[in-house]
Amino acid sequence: MANEVQPLNLHTKSWSVKIILAIFSILMLILVVGPLVWLAVHAFATEWKFPSYKPTGLTLEWFRKVFEVQALKEAMKSSFIISPIVVLVSAVICLPAAYASARYNYWGRRTFLIMMFSANAFPKIGLFATIATLYYFLNLMGTIVGVIIVQVLGTIIYMTWIPAAAFASVPKNLEEAARDAGASKFRVFRTITLRMAMPGILVAMVMSFIYAFDEAQGTFLVGAPNIYTMPTAMYAIVETYPIQVTAVFSILLTIPSVLLIGLARKHIIGGQLAEGFQIK
């Protein structure tokens, strides 16, 4: 009873506050969702004349059209091949480090964390410009490996910080209890630590996937003109195709993120993400 969360009793002049809140909400609705709906509706429009609130007619023709364009099909294919590889590579590199920074104290620990943060503070676009020097030297320009590396760089901060916070929040005494019950060190890690940290790892993977899937600037600088992913293809098609095609393509490009975030929604909003962004 004493621990039951009870609502705060804050007295507000209910009417004026309610009206302000209502206006605020409607404004948010229009400003946030408006552009998306506006674009999405175009995917089904035959034609749209300014200044009309609705299209001249409705059609599904544009969806067929998108799948007819060879370049767009290629872009979709490479997106769905590259992004999962990026997530896996990033996980292999970062998860042990996340565990280490949660459980061990090692030489240079804090320096490592700050270095990781500063790497993120350097403007992305400038970084991609500087990376070219090295890429030319290593012959990575315009290669799949080059694109994967560029995308992995941006996921490292998600893949270390969020799981590190998740590992750290697994109480040590739960591990000790399992050890006491006769489980081996590895078994404890697998059945207790990893399982309890799983939501955090999942959030990290989702965020990394979305980052990789959506990354455009680095991929464009490093991959074009050999490799186009869905977002970099967008740069090109907005200039060459009618708005309806870009609208269809936008919808297709948004589906994976929507699905994944829907899946991990509870944990993302539950604070796993926020936990990860503090230097400890």
Binding site: C94, Y104, W107, L134
Partner: protein, 313 residues
């Protein structure tokens, strides 16, 4: 943040109690640092030397491909590339645009995220959940799409113009202006800010708010003296990540901004690809980096200060 759980986590994760240094831990932590070192640290180092006129070694290829590359010619270093950039008539305009857009976008993002966070914490209910869910939508949307959607919305034939026209207003469109960049930057930065700040406010125990109420404080005083200070770290994180993110952004200003003056993100890309002047584009990257590091220092300071306050250090 200041809840018991976060403090506990912090203590455990900092591992101050078992101060034994772990060799295994060091090697486990090494891979991401090596990757970052190789593909971020090394290029930045190389680029730094290139910006000073070191055109040999690993910098050779890019120096040959690029135009207007200033070599140090036997001197210790040369600042000519920097002079090129600073003397360029576009520089001041770009600098002003970049800083102002970052500043205004950050202020607006803080305003909206703190507002929504407070509504959710203090009022709760369906409306606030709806607001939070709404403001998280941009998280689902790739930046390229967001930029394009905003462009079509605010652009010549977009809903914004349609609405204004039907009410009889004939105003100049806001796409290709700085205003549109700010709107776009707020739009894309809001979800992260909301996640951070709502979770910061949520972790303030009810009792701490009620204690202030019991002490006679009204809602505004409670927000000012208890809630904002206790959410100080998330607020600083949002401020730094938003301003750094906006400062280095490319897609939003590319789609929504004016051609001249524009933000450094666009200018860096232009110099690198369109004008083929890599050295000058790198110089601009360092100028943005300098501004970003100033902000990053603030973030690190805030983190340590909070660690000290809650008795962790």
């Amino acid at each position: 943040m200041s809840t018991a759980t976060t403090n506990q986590v912090a203590k455990e994760s900092f591992g101050s109690k078992d101060s034994k240094l772990s060799v295994l831990g060091f090697f486990m932590a090494l891979p991401p640092i090596l990757v970052l070192g190789t593909f971020i640290g090394l290029p930045i180092g190389l680029a730094f030397f290139l910006s000073l006129g070191y055109t040999g070694g690993l910098n050779e290829v890019i120096s040959i491909i690029g135009q207007d590359v200033r070599a140090r010619d036997g001197k210790l270093f040369t600042l000519q590339a920097y002079q090129d950039v600073i003397k360029d008539p576009r520089f001041l305009g770009d600098l002003r645009t970049t800083l102002l857009v970052s500043l205004f976008a950050t202020i607006l993002v803080l305003f909206f995220s703190i507002g929504i966070g407070l509504i959710q914490r203090l009022r709760g209910g369906k409306l606030s959940s709806l607001l939070t869910a709404l403001s998280l939508t941009p998280l689902f949307i790739p930046v390229v799409i967001s930029a394009w959607a905003l462009y079509t919305f605010y652009g010549g034939a977009g809903l914004y113009q349609t609405l204004l026209k039907s009410f009889g207003f004939d105003v100049p469109q806001i796409t290709s202006t700085v205003v549109a960049i700010v709107i776009g930057s707020v739009w894309t930065s809001l979800p992260f800010a909301i996640l951070m700040i709502t979770s910061g406010f949520q972790s303030i125990p009810n009792a701490l708010i009620e204690a202030a109420q019991d002490a006679g404080a009204g809602i505004v005083t409670i927000i000012r003296t208890v809630m904002l200070p206790l959410a100080f770290i998330p607020i600083v994180i949002v401020a730094t990540f938003t301003s750094i993110g906006v400062m280095g952004s490319f897609t939003i200003p590319f789609f929504l901004g004016p051609n001249q003056p524009t933000m450094f993100g666009v200018e860096i890309t232009n110099f690198f690809t369109a004008y083929n002047r890599p050295q000058q584009s790198i110089v601009m990257a360092f100028i943005v980096f300098l501004a970003a590091s100033g902000i990053a220092v603030m973030y690190i300071w805030a983190n340590f200060r909070s660690a000290k306050e809650s008795g962790r250090v």
